[in-house]
Amino acid sequence: MTTTETLRRRVQLWFGPQHPGITGNMSVQAWLEGDTLTQGITHVGYLHRAFEKLMERRKFIQSFPIVCRICVPEPDTNEYLLAAALEELSGLDREVPEKALWIRTLVLEMSRLAAMLQVLGGHVGSMGLGVVPNWTYTLRDYVLDRFEELTGARVYHMYTVFGGVRRDLPEGFAERMETEVLAKIEAKLPVIDNAIFDSSVFRKRAIGVGVVPEEWADEMGISGPVVRAMGIPRDTRKDFPYLKYPELDFEVVTTTGSDIYARAWIRRQEIAQSVDLIRQILRRMPTEGPYCAKLPNMLTWTIPPGQTYVRAEASRGEMGYYVVTDGSDKMRRVHVRGPSYVHGVSLLERLIPGTNIADLSPLMVSLQTCPPEIER
């Protein structure tokens, strides 16, 4: 066997689940020749907790502590979608107070902001530039401080309930949000821009890497920053309006390139957009009025038979809940459709062949895979 043939031998490598470059509890079974990946298969199941099965056996209200665990960095989308689906099927959606709709919009946007700060740091952290994640995680912590003030919890909020939210905004919340979070984020963004988008290391490793062809967008149902980085203005907040988003002034951020750099750039722009949206929401939110509708007895509440699919724009893309009720006090079926189900399995596996082994981690971060929403 010649030296060249030896180097070209196909080697199998498990990338994860114990690997600092993997996005959560999953792994990629990869085959490589030299340092080029020839094939990859996504493996999940490391934190399967049978959430969907559990929810079939619980009363509706008991599902809130479960759904928030479907995505750790961004739990609120799950809480909202569960509430929205069951409110729609029960007819309770017509009774959700105006103020609750604004607070839910605020919470979803705060959640998107926190998750995007985390993943923007991850973009460069996965390439070894560790200082930027320190900044972005700190900024994310400021958002979590406000979540703690609002909901009593930093990560799993369990704040959205049927008919509205659990409590009103504390006094002075808007001012603290401005001075303690939004102003600090805005002040830091130029420095982050400089460290990421002006960095020759990041540019060399991100431009032209992990390119997703535009024709895959419809074929595979790609959404979120991944589809917007192709130049396609697709955003659930605009396309399937919900809550108070139709009343807010914002444009869908797009760019071209469809590579890791483009996806990072989209997230950077959407952080600024989220800051602006949170300001708009706090400015326009009514100060008076109820924050939750009068609810039926949650121990005996039944919902008529029906099925629906509701969706919202998470930081990763379209998040959907398919819910079926049968007239009883429990869901017949709840099926969570997270964007990672497509991005982290089918799309990632199609992108892997030809990728350099060192680029696998940045590629996965750029797809923003969240394993618990794959295995629910």
Binding site: G221, G306, Q307, R333, Y341
Partner: protein, 181 residues
Amino acid sequence: MKTIIDDIRARFSVEWEHEQRADLAQIGVAPGTVVPLLTWMKLHTPFVQLNHLSVVDWLEDGEFQLTYLLTDPHGHRSLMVCTRIPREEATMESVHELWPQAVTYEQEINEMFGIHFPGSPRQGVPFILEGWDDLPPMRRDFDTVAYMHAHHPSRPGREHVDPRVYVGKVFGERGYLHDDD
């Protein structure tokens, strides 16, 4: 949504229809109609995206319901195509030739409900579970408690220690309890 359902009715047999929202309609068709219908929709209508594929277990009826959610990404509307198949030896035609991501859905459904999709590439390949040899766990007749007792025998509970007694034993009758404070 009325137009697309009328178009479908002109070509295929539709068992029922329901408009859930202005942007979401639902139709029910026979199992044999599903793949021809979805193929026609992908090739000749704006409903080109498969957003979701799900299963509902109607145990009391002896049937599984398969739900395909198709979306028109430019018209911003979705159509739910539902069909029912018998639970016994449940088999359904695959749609992975139409949408590559359907492979993952069909793999998971095969594992969790035991529905077979002949020709789909990863049938029988574990997705979430590992070494599973019982009834597919998302079926409603799967007894989770019995499975748990069979595979995870209960361990004896911890010995209970009353803190008051423990502190009294270590620090004396009054100890640090400050009962009279």
